[in-house]
């Protein structure tokens, strides 16, 4: 087991497992978010549950944050090792001849998603922490839908969100199915896994983009 920690294969498994965990989280996040378009009351109820349930707040939330940190820190470590392994760069290197753009640029799509997470945390997580623990405001199970719609009023924020979701889509296009290969899964189910992963990579991020655009175009009028 000791060799496992320092091995290149183990690092890839850590990337794969943390990535799959984040994929699962994205599906759950999307399921709740889409209710903000379909039924604001359901969205308020779920958001309030997620914001005040102790298991979600004190057990699942730290695990999620750890998952994000592990994924991007390991991503940086692998990228640095990989760049170092080349040594001298080629004068001419035709990467497009043998591998798709998305698979060769995971670090860049990942960096955009990471930068987006900074804004997203500021928009919602910091806002929630401030509401609950700084301003010490009372529980209000009806506030979430209006607050979310209001967040997408500025055009610039909506554009940044939509661009980030496109990059998230590209990241998932390669990363989701790739995580199975890293864990040693390449068998008769692989074509089906790849199809599902690509469908997920398109539907979920574009669904998030649709939600942002929908709220931008349908502001609440008082």
């Amino acid at each position: 087991m000791s060799g496992l920690i320092s091995s290149s294969l183990a690092r890839k498994v850590v990337m794969a497992l943390s990535g799959l965990f984040l994929v699962f989280f994205l599906a759950q996040h999307f399921t709740i978010n889409i209710t903000s378009v379909i039924d604001p009351e359901t969205f308020n109820a779920w958001s309030h549950f997620m914001g005040y349930n102790p298991i979600v707040q004190y057990a699942l939330q730290p695990v999620l944050i750890a998952g994000v940190i592990i994924h991007f820190v390991m991503g940086f470590v692998l990228e640095l090792q990989n760049r170092n392994a080349r040594g001298i760069n080629y004068v001419k290197y035709k990467g497009s001849a043998n591998a798709p753009w998305v698979s060769r640029n995971m670090i860049w799509s990942g960096l955009v998603v990471l930068a987006f997470l900074g804004l997203h945390f500021y928009d919602f997580w910091v806002h929630e922490m401030s509401y609950k623990y700084v301003a010490m405001l009372p529980e209000d199970p009806t506030r979430y839908h209006a607050e979310t719609v209001e967040k997408f009023a500025p055009f610039w924020r909506t554009v940044i969100y939509v661009i980030s979701f496109v990059l998230l889509s590209l990241h998932l296009w390669h990363g989701f199915a790739s995580s199975f290969q890293s864990m040693g899964v390449n068998n008769k189910y692989t074509p089906a896994i790849k199809k599902f992963a690509k469908l997920f990579a398109v539907v979920i991020p574009l669904g998030f983009a649709f939600i942002a655009l929908y709220h931008h175009l349908n502001p609440i009028t008082h």
Binding site: S8, L9, A85, R86, V91, N98, M183
Partner: protein, 248 residues
């Protein structure tokens, strides 16, 4: 055919190399790429200049010795061949051809276009064998029945000629395709199962020690491999490694 060549020249392992330009005339379509380099070298020798050093041996596409990065692709623009099987009909009159050595820290340049691929040998030595006592009366391997699918998969893995195109093509200079082929050819057969755990742990450890990069599943190695070694081998090695690590 007139060609403009840009070739990496490096005096020795310690010196700093650079690209040198040559113009070559009178090249015929039927020449192989290596014959084209032979013509260049003949001209250089006649002028009293140092010829371009490059690796070659069988010139039949089976020894894995030739190793050139041609216009940004290992073994040139055609698929599933080595440089010695590449012909000048794949190029056009007036083309500029950039020729470089494999680039990887684990493949240091010895001179010009020749790199040291002993790191592959050390990976192989770390476990790419089976310990069988041989004598005048070895047990016939054919006496052990093996499923056709497994025998074929093992044979396909064993067709790896260790040329290093996988490392050269990979954006991370990873040696996963090579190592996984050498692990797979034994892991799939009963004769290789005896030392399977030890083998995969030792070969991966050596691969990491040599300084190759990590696999990011881009699939470039599979596309550029002259023998078409499949990514399935990498997944198999990952499984073998995880299973061996957990067993301790």
């Amino acid at each position: 055919m007139k060609l403009y060549l840009k070739i990496w020249r490096q005096k020795n392992a310690e010196s700093k190399g650079s690209m040198v330009e040559y113009t070559l005339d009178g090249i015929e379509n039927d020449m192989s790429f290596l014959e084209m380099l032979d013509v260049l070298n003949e001209g250089l020798i006649n002028k009293g200049e140092e010829p371009v050093e490059f690796d070659h041996d069988c010139r039949e596409g089976i020894c894995g010795t030739c190793s050139l990065m041609i216009n940004g692709r290992p073994h040139g623009p055609d698929s599933k061949i080595t440089v010695c099987q590449l012909h000048m009909r794949s190029f056009n009159d007036g083309d500029t051809i950039v020729i470089e050595p494999w680039r990887a820290k684990a493949f240091p340049v010895i001179k010009d276009l020749i790199v040291d691929r002993n790191s592959f040998d050390r990976i192989q030595q770390a476990g790419g064998y089976i310990s069988v006592n041989t004598s005048g009366r070895p047990v016939d391997a054919n006496a052990i029945p093996i499923e056709k699918d497994l025998a074929d998969a093992s044979f396909n893995a064993a067709t790896c000629i260790g040329c290093g195109a996988c490392v050269a093509a990979c954006k991370n200079a990873s040696a996963m395709l090579f190592t996984s082929a050498k692990v797979s050819q034994f892991a799939l057969l009963p004769q290789g199962r005896v030392e399977a755990s030890e083998r995969v742990l030792n070969m991966v450890r050596q691969m990491d020690l040599e300084g190759f990069g990590n696999c990011t599943n881009t699939g470039a190695c599979e596309v550029e491999c002259p023998k078409g070694i499949s990514l399935e081998n990498i997944a198999r090695m990952n499984r073998e490694y995880l299973s061996a690590s957990v067993k301790g």
